[in-house]
């Protein structure tokens, strides 16, 4: 679906110039298997949607969310709650990154932290605003650490804490994120989760699956 473009290479380090035009999933697998032939890499060359997400995430221990838009992030959140799979969240914008871990029904979920997405006019996409090329590597490395910690049950994962990275003043900060008892997805009185495509407002539990 998505193929390697030369404009990706300053930040998507699994690819290189020789792979321009190759499917990204194939290029990524080649690079990973060249580093470690014992890896078993499964690829899904498809757009993540309401029709396939539950099947795709089924059986995995951790989801690492590096998606690039709000609707998909809400979709991942709701599906992860339904399947009870922790999500290692990383998001970036220009010179800053945000990392946290959503552990279903233990800590807050994405909807507890961000009940509604910004309207389009207040949320320029990365394509418009751009991202400093090295930033995804920093945020992705921290997500990798959190993933390893979850799998090995090591240390203190970023559950209930939002770690922010600011490249301009070169600082990390940590903020508390709490589970919202009125959260429409994981709150005490939340209706059963329905997985459906979300519109730009990403409103919870739309009808008509």
């Amino acid at each position: 679906m998505d193929v390697v473009d030369s404009s990706n290479l300053q930040r998507q380090i699994l690819h290189n110039l020789d792979r321009v035009g190759m499917r990204k999933v194939d290029s990524a697998r080649l690079t990973l298997e060249a580093m470690n032939p014992d890896l078993k890499v499964l690829t899904y060359d498809t757009r993540l949607g309401a029709d396939n997400i539950l099947d795709i995430i089924d059986g995995y221990d951790v989801i690492v969310d590096g998606t690039d838009n709000f609707p998909t992030r809400y979709l991942v959140n709701d599906a992860a709650l339904l399947k009870n799979i922790p999500v290692v969240h990383g998001s970036i914008f220009r010179f800053e990154g945000q990392i946290t871990v959503f552990n279903p029904y233990v800590g807050p979920c994405y909807r507890c932290m961000i009940p509604e997405p910004p309207p389009a006019e207040l949320a320029p996409s990365c394509a418009e605003a751009g991202v400093l090329g090295v930033l995804p590597g920093i945020v992705g490395s921290i997500q990798a650490i959190e993933t390893i910690k979850l799998i090995l049950e090591l240390g203190d994962p970023l559950v209930g804490r939002l770690l922010t990275y600011d490249a301009l003043d070169q600082s990390f900060r940590t903020f508390k994120v709490r589970r919202d008892p009125t959260c429409p997805a994981c709150g005490e009185d939340a209706p059963p989760i329905v997985i459906a495509e979300y519109d730009d407002l990403c409103m919870p539990h739309p009808v008509g699956v």
Binding site: G90, E116, L122, A123, S125, D169
Partner: protein
Amino acid sequence: MNVIVRLPSQLRSLVGGAGEVPVEAATVRDAINAVDAAYPGIAFRVLDDRGALRRFVNVFVADEDVRFLNGLDTVLESGQTVSLVPAVAGG
């Protein structure tokens, strides 16, 4: 109270590039309005047309989310930092 308001990079162009703006304020609402008085446009990005906090912007006093304190009426102590942290979704 003398407090610091920390701005995300997406709002810094509105204040001439600064990451932190020192203001005099008694509450979180005061602090946002004080920054807006000096640099018009900040409040619009953080508050909706009824003056409530926009739901995709988290505001922290020190490391506490004001939604779990007293919201925009949260009282500030001298030297505290108010951080505006809008949601970002790039990946």
